[in-house]
Each structure stands twice: as C-alpha cells, then as structure tokens.
Point group: C2
Amino acid sequence: MRAEIISVGTELLLGQIVDTNAAYIARELAELGIDIFFKQTVGDNPGRIQDAVRLAMSRADAIIMTGGLGPTEDDLTVEAVAAALGEELVHNQEVAVHIKRFFETRGRVPPDSVFKQALVPRTAQVIPNARGTAPGVHFDRDGHMIFMMPGVPFEMDGMMRDYVLPHLRERTTGAVIRSVVLRVTGEGESAVEARIKDLIRGTSPTVAPYAKLGEVHLRVTAKGSPEEVAGQLSRGVALVRERLGELVYGTDSETLEDVVAGMLTSKRLTIAVAESCTGGLLAQRLTNVPGSSAYFVEGVVAYSNDAKVDVVGVDPGLIETHGAVSAPVAEAMAEGIRARVRTDLGVSITGVAGPSGGTAEKPVGLVFIGLTSSRGVLHRRLAFGSEPGRQGIRHLASQAALNLIRLQLLRA
Amino acid sequence: MRAEIISVGTELLLGQIVDTNAAYIARELAELGIDIFFKQTVGDNPGRIQDAVRLAMSRADAIIMTGGLGPTEDDLTVEAVAAALGEELVHNQEVAVHIKRFFETRGRVPPDSVFKQALVPRTAQVIPNARGTAPGVHFDRDGHMIFMMPGVPFEMDGMMRDYVLPHLRERTTGAVIRSVVLRVTGEGESAVEARIKDLIRGTSPTVAPYAKLGEVHLRVTAKGSPEEVAGQLSRGVALVRERLGELVYGTDSETLEDVVAGMLTSKRLTIAVAESCTGGLLAQRLTNVPGSSAYFVEGVVAYSNDAKVDVVGVDPGLIETHGAVSAPVAEAMAEGIRARVRTDLGVSITGVAGPSGGTAEKPVGLVFIGLTSSRGVLHRRLAFGSEPGRQGIRHLASQAALNLIRLQLLRA
C-alpha cells in the first residue's frame, strides 16, 4: 500500500509553524510498513487543494490530509475535496449534537460559525473528534481512501490512533518497519561512527547516526514480518552495544537524567550539587525526573566567589591561587557541598560559559567537573571551545557531569 | 514571483526528522513577498525527484530544493535534476580544491567518496558552501531558477543568506511581508484574545495569536511596499500594546529572562533565589543570559525541608504549621536567602510539581512564589492543576516568578 500526506495551511507555507503533524503521521505509517513516496503542502485555497488531491489520487492508495477543518472562512479542505469528488455537503445532525455538547460541558455557548463543521459530504464517514469540535472525514472512492483531519496536533493525534490507523492496519500486508534508538554519550559523532562503520553500511537492520548536542542517537531500523523485525532489531542492538559498551547510556526516549535518577534511586544514594557556570541546570535536570526527592537533597548555584566560600565552604586561598575555574576549586566545591549536606555524592561544575570572560589560559568553554563520594574525590577537565555558545556550553557541561555520575554509579 | 520548495530525503518521509528547513525557507521568502503555493517532500529516489522538479517547473518561477547533496550513495538530487534537464555532470576543480582544503584545515584526510560532490552540471553555477563540503547548485532554465542546497540546516542557512536570497531579491517587485511578534504573559490565551478580538479579525495588519506554555505570542503581519508595511506594523503593535499594557513583556525573539536581565542590569540590582519544586530552573533561566554575573549572586535548590531550614534560614515551626508548600514558607524562603546573601531582591518558589505528592488541600500544580526587596515581602499563589505535567508545572512556576520580578521592577 502507498500513502501520501497532504498538509493544508497557508501558515505552513509562510513558515509560521513547523509541520510536526506530517512527521508524526509518517512515523505511524512506517510502523505499519506503508510506503510514502511524496508529501505535499498546500495553502488554504480550494483550487490548489483540489490539484493536490487529484495528484495524490494518481499515485497513492491512501491519502492523509490535515488542516483546514475548523470553523473559520479559511477552513476549506472538506468543501474543496467534496467538490473535487463531485460530492454534495449535507448537514449531519450527529456532528451538530456533538458540537453543542462539547461547548455545553465546558460551560460555553457555541457561536453559530462553529456549526459550519456539521456540513459533511453525503457519502463520507465522519471520524469522531473526542478532543475538539471539527469532525474528521473519511472517503472511500475508486479504491482510494481519503482521510481528512484537523491540523491541531492534539485532535489529529487522537483521530489517527482511534480511527485512521486501525482502518489502515486492516488493509496492510503485515510487513512492518520498526526502530530502536540507542543513546550514546561520552564521545563525539565521528569517534562513535568509526567504531560501527560496518554496521552503518549494513542493510538489515540499518543503523543511522544522528548527532545531538552532547550525545549521538543511533537509530537501528528493520523491515519485514513482525518476527523478522524483532530478531533483526535485537541482533542489531546487541552488535552496537558490544562495540560501544558503556558509551550507550539508554534507549528510545530515555534521557541521561532518567538513567542517573534510576541508578541513584535503586542504589538508595543521595546527591547534592554545587554549580557555577551552569547556573542551576544540573540541579534542574536531576530534579526533572518524578520522585527526585528520594535522592536529590540540595543544590547551590554559587555564582560569585563569595558564594563559593560562604555556602560551599571553598578555601578562599584556593580561588586566589588557582582561580575559580580550576581543578582544585571544582574538587573543593564537590567536597564542600557533600560535607555540609551529608549526602553520598557531591558534584560540582565550574567553568567559563562565555560569551565573554575567557582568557588565553582559561578560554570560553573550559569546564571543570568535580565528583566526590566515600571513595574519594576526582575531577574532569573539558574544553568545549566557544563554538557551542553559552547555552550549548552549559548543556554540554551538565551532560558531562551527569555522565560522570553515571559512570561512577556503574562501578559503585 | 512564485516559488516552490522541494525537500528531498527518505528520512523526512519516514518522519525521523521534522522539516525545519522548509519553514525557515518559507519565512525568508515571505519576507521578500514571494508567494509559495506548494511545497513537496520526496524520498531519495531519482525518478520521483525528477517528477517533483517537473511538476514544480510547471507552476513556479523559483524552485528551492534541500537535501540529497552529500557524499553517500543516497545523495541523488543533483544527478536526478541534471538528468531531468538533460545536463551532463562534469568535474569541477574549484569544488575539489575546496573539499581538500576543508578537510586539511581540520587536520583530516578526505575520503575518496567525498569527491563525488565535485561533480556538477556543466552549465550550472556552484553555490559556495563555507560551512561544509557539499556545494550548492544553481540552474537558470527556461525562465525558472532552480537552487539545490544541502539538507544540513547550518550549511543550508549560510547558502540561503549569502547566495539564494540576494539572487531572489534582485528579481522581486518590492512587495514584502513582514511580522512582529509581541510576547505576552500573565493571562491565558482566551483572556488575551478577548481583549483584542476585533484586531484578530482585522486584515491590515493581521494579528494571529499562538498559545505557548505560560505565554501567548501575537504575530502582527503586514504586506505591501516597505513603507506601507512599516506603517501598518507600527500601528498594529501600538494598538495591541494599548489594549494589553503590562501583559506585553517583549517582542520577537526576546525571552522573559532577557527582559528581566536587562531590567536588573540597567537598574544595577542584584538577586538571589531559593527554589524547591522548580529544582534550579529559575536560577538556570536567570543565568541563561550573557553577563548574568552582574545581577545574579546565588541560588539555592532547597529540595528537602532540612535544606530550607539550614541554608535558607526558614523557621522549622513555619514548615510544621503551614507545610513546606505555603505562603508563609515562600515568603520566609525569599527573605531568608536575601538576608543571608545581602542582595536587592530575594525570590522563592515552593510547590507541588507532581506527578505524586499532591493532597486535597495541596494538589499537584499548587505553587507559591515569594518576592522580597527593600519595599517589603509579598507572595503569589498559583494553581496550575495537574494537566501541564511535572515539567510543564515547573516551567509555568519559573515563568510566573520571572514575571513577578518583571512587574516589581517596572514599579521600582
């Protein structure tokens, strides 16, 4: 089966919004093994919507349209497609009742304009919209399936899951495309690629690297029967893990903070952090995970030297001798916060996030991370350079600190 | 002039990446007043790339293509388009030298595969790529301009700015589309819309609201000659500002933290923060702005009750009587951190971010913000509900705190 996506909306052609709907629909169709050869984007214009639908019907079995289904005068999709197919629009009482109820349960009176959405093509099926007022529309015509959904992602998403995907699943042959993402941190993209070059060239499964800031995602993808796919994926994942070892920190949507949080929780360890250049980002990432009060006790953003001395207990002589951005100060910050708060781990970050404040000796992007536990204290020196920018350097520093915690916990 | 965008890449049709390039290009063309009626997305397949180009040539004057210009076997765009136009590919010595130098300055040896990119159509112009190895290609054929650029956003962006946009600008009539975004916080979308309903219905300029988490962006857009546009925009912006007053905190890409940072810096005021449920997010946002050491002195993430007592100096009796999530504790946290650090402002956040930990009396989403200065202490109670989720509640709480600081500074 071949499908084609048509996104309708002048705001898309003006670049005012990014078309995330199309990417979501494409992923869901790929999951069913349905090929997509083309995607079209067209403005709120009846003639051009009709051109797009006719073209799609000439080359696809299923046509998935989003956008232009609302109550305003710009919403022309259903009207245009009905006209292209020689269909009359008729009032649908069920939809009208749904719209009325939708407003009533929210304590609001529906404006007249909204009932325009109760006009649907005579022979079409209505796709229920549990999350909004605009119904979707489903046509079967000359062997083609045409689905029209609203552009609001939250509403479209519900219709895809509850109606469109079940309909398509019935018609597919059973071949599926499925992916697993392995998340890697601690080495750059080219170093990671070099270790798995032959796997990247492979075809079944395929391995595709995507560089992110401070990590690399490796997408392992297989296509075939559900059983073939499961076998290929577990083989591919095992091969990558064998090559990369501890560099792989997680899978799919798991974040580095999720993994660290899980390790701290299961080992019943507590942590406190003292940050300078990251300004609270490490604390924020560590507490982004539900249940973080089990392990996170306290964080200090010791931005000024006074704060490093007063709250974290750094010896002012150390700052004077080595500078605030130095290995001894990083270690002292980690030890100071751990000693005061009495946690299992103490972690610190001090560095130059820029854009100003760099010197020849301490350039922008230079960061020291300190980590202390009952097994002693250690530090890491990282030089990110100025290129990632202030927010990039801050993110990379927090990423390196989280990874240092992870590697320490792997051995604890 | 009419333009059409063609995005090439199977990864787009599989939904593995979202097409942000197309949105960027569309915005830049709109800025020049160039109409886009269609956008196509096509996979890495020569026949289908040719179909897409032929279709675009039948209805557009300028065709902007991205993707499929790299060194791998999947990169077929130039070859396919050249074949569609009956063009031969020839070796371009200038490009080969550029590729060699690009690798050399990075201390690397170019692999042979990369020199495939030096094959360009005989009559085409090469678009220099200062940021990568794949050159862009520019054809003029039968009154159509065709531009091909790599899909890597960083490289595409440079070519658009330095080559494609200047070329298109020369050919346009002078009508432009331009927008200003007014950024609003402190009231919900429907309340904001109600105040400017008539402006939203207007046509010249148009005002379009976009709801974001914790803020609303109002895009004011005008089309016409540069002078007309400037007049319409300043009139539109003034009208919206008149209606919304202090709710408008900034324009275009200015963030709330940018605005607060600017006010603190220009008033030479210092700030310290004590956070609980936001876990460092407020400190992180306040220090996201370059030069933040001028005003930000210290932050504490006092996650446990002990930390609230020990580091922020909250009376344990207050926590016992009112609970950690309460107005008195919020005020005591703000006063405690300000007194210890001796800053002009002290700000605190305490709340229930969830998903667990809520009670009937203190449900998930309940947040108290404290603010103290030489003019006394105050608090705000906010009930976000559980719907925004943990990260949403944390963001909304930090947003409300920043806005409270902003409003206080407006009066200071």
